[in-house]
């Protein structure tokens, strides 16, 4: 059997890291995988150098639609470190609330996508219907469904009224009940089990070696979470459990995300119950002093790290962002490579790719299949590849 090279990608408009993959396939087994990113490199780091610190907030928010809260928290925190000032405690709590609500929406989105990739569209419909609850709450709280525009340097722009807090609590109760139902589905539904158990394996050693982050790392049994290790905002006070599993496969990644959603709901409840009184922002001068700072945040997809250097002007001399998906790419290549008894099928490619949560929802692309020996080639769309995957697994 000659080796095939399968090219998937690259257009991927939703995320900072759209990817193109080339798979070398021997029959049904993926022998090795290669990754090429950069198709939507927008030069945000360069653009940040020509804007003031305040003008950069909307820019940084647009790095990623789904993780926008994580990026803006990381940015504003970083600039606040430069000033050497602490923000009011109430603002820190509001940041934690919106961050956790963002995590709920991101994880629910992912569970829906995972359902779709494995051919379980009922799960997608149900989860996305319930996700609307948290989207509505975010809209009510910030005025926007997705890009929240809530962060500012020195605090947050909008407060939470007691009436709003009551509505958030009510919405979260519904979500908690529904998420517990999905937890039951994830653990018992035969479609989910058949398509996730022992697929996309990333062992503990490999996860550490390739510096995986977020739920991908925690599903390999490593208890690592920036919120617990290096607390920011109100995470030093809000109790939560770092969820880990040691199955090291896709099933573990589903389980980690479902339980993290429940943990996030609990954290929002705690924040609302213990919301301190006081101002929500402090005014800071336009120009921070000279200096450098590094800040980390646990985004829904994992560790997000930003670096800033100030040269004493109102614009940053350098702004550097590393979003979590880049951290997971090396591990993804590892998951997609057959080793010994562990075989990766072409049919499992979509769900393994989606497993690290790289916003693959927008990836509806053609894949070119090439047979090197005869030069024969044909094109499959992402949908056709998925359908092929489902057929193979039936």
């Amino acid at each position: 059997m000659p080796e095939f090279s399968v090219i998937i990608g690259p257009q991927h408009p939703a995320l900072k890291e759209p990817e193109s993959f080339t798979f070398w396939v021997d029959g049904e087994d993926v022998v090795r995988a290669e990754v090429r990113i950069g198709y939507a490199h927008r030069g945000i780091e360069k653009a940040a150098e020509s804007r003031t610190y305040i003008q950069n907030i909307p820019l940084i928010e647009r790095i990623c639609g789904i993780c926008n809260v994580a990026h803006t928290i990381c940015y504003t925190q970083n600039v606040e470190y430069l000033y050497g000032r602490e923000i009011p405690r109430r603002a820190e709590f509001i940041r934690t609330i919106i961050e956790e609500m963002n995590r709920i929406h991101s994880h629910l989105l992912w569970i829906g996508i995972a359902g779709h990739e494995i051919g379980f569209d009922t799960l997608l419909m149900y989860v996305w219907r319930d996700r609307e609850v948290v989207m509505d709450l975010i809209e009510e709280m910030t005025g926007n469904r997705v890009s929240t525009a809530l962060m500012t340097i020195g605090g947050v722009t909008r407060d939470i009224t007691p009436e709003l807090a009551t509505r958030i609590r009510r919405g979260l109760d519904t979500l908690e009940e529904r998420t517990k139902y999905y937890e039951k589905i994830a653990a018992n539904e035969s479609t989910v089990l058949a398509r996730t158990k022992e697929i996309g394996i990333l062992t503990r050693e490999e996860a550490l070696k390739h510096c995986a982050v977020g739920p991908t790392l925690r599903a390999s049994g490593i208890k690592s979470d920036v919120r617990a290790e290096d607390p920011y905002a109100a995470h030093d006070e809000v109790p939560f459990e770092v969820i880990t599993t040691d199955t090291c496969d896709l099933f573990g990644r589903v389980v980690v995300r479902v339980y993290e959603t429940i943990e996030a709901i609990r954290q929002v409840h705690y924040c609302l119950d213990n919301l301190p009184t006081g101002p929500i922002r402090i005014r800071l001068p336009n120009t921070p002093p000279r200096g450098e700072s590094v800040s980390r945040v646990e985004a829904p997809r994992g560790e997000d790290i930003h670096y800033v250097r100030s040269d004493g002007t109102d614009k940053p001399a350098r702004y550097k962002v590393r979003a979590p998906t880049l951290g997971n790419l090396a591990s993804l290549v590892e998951m997609l490579t057959s080793k010994g008894d562990y075989k990766v099928c072409v049919a499992d490619i979509p769900i393994i790719l989606a497993g690290i949560d790289p916003c693959m929802c927008c990836m509806d692309r053609t894949s070119r299949f090439i047979e090197p020996s005869s030069g024969r080639e044909w094109v499959w769309t992402w949908d056709q590849l998925k359908k092929y995957g489902r057929r193979r697994k039936e």
């Binding site: 950069g38 490199h41 653009a47 020509s50 590094v294 790290i305 670096y307 250097r309 550097k320 880049l326």
Partner: protein
């Protein structure tokens, strides 16, 4: 940190504290030099090293044999700032397109962003 001792110093720290995680590598143009700054983390502590590489001979040892997770980050710095990492397994383009000029590095300060001329004038 001196560029000659960059890799060995990091190796010593990594071995002494059992660090496995590299968060990213930042490259920054500081005028005559480019600062290469690997950000490591261990048990909630962030450690940042800084090595100044002269722009005229932008070369430094790779960290990939000390911390394999550095592969992507070194490719990124190589792409955008033109720092060559000696011993890196594959310094191919990562974020820039394949037809981007070989000697133009967008994150260096001498690279100025030029607004494109409007095609049709109002």
């Amino acid at each position: 940190m001196k560029t000659e001792s960059y890799k060995e110093s990091i190796r010593k720290v990594v071995e002494k504290y059992g660090i496995t995680h590299i968060s990213t590598i930042t490259g920054t143009d500081s005028g005559q030099t480019i600062d290469v700054m690997p950000h490591l983390s261990c048990a909630g502590i962030k450690i940042t090293f800084k090595a100044a590489v002269p722009k005229t001979a932008a070369e430094i040892d790779t960290l990939t044999d000390v911390l394999p997770g550095a592969v992507m980050y070194e490719r990124e710095v190589h792409d955008l700032l033109g720092v060559k990492f000696k011993g890196h397994p594959n310094l191919a383009r990562l974020v820039l397109s394949d037809d981007w000029a070989r000697d133009v590095f967008p994150l260096r300060k001498e690279y100025k962003v030029v607004r494109p001329e409007p095609i049709r004038k109002a």
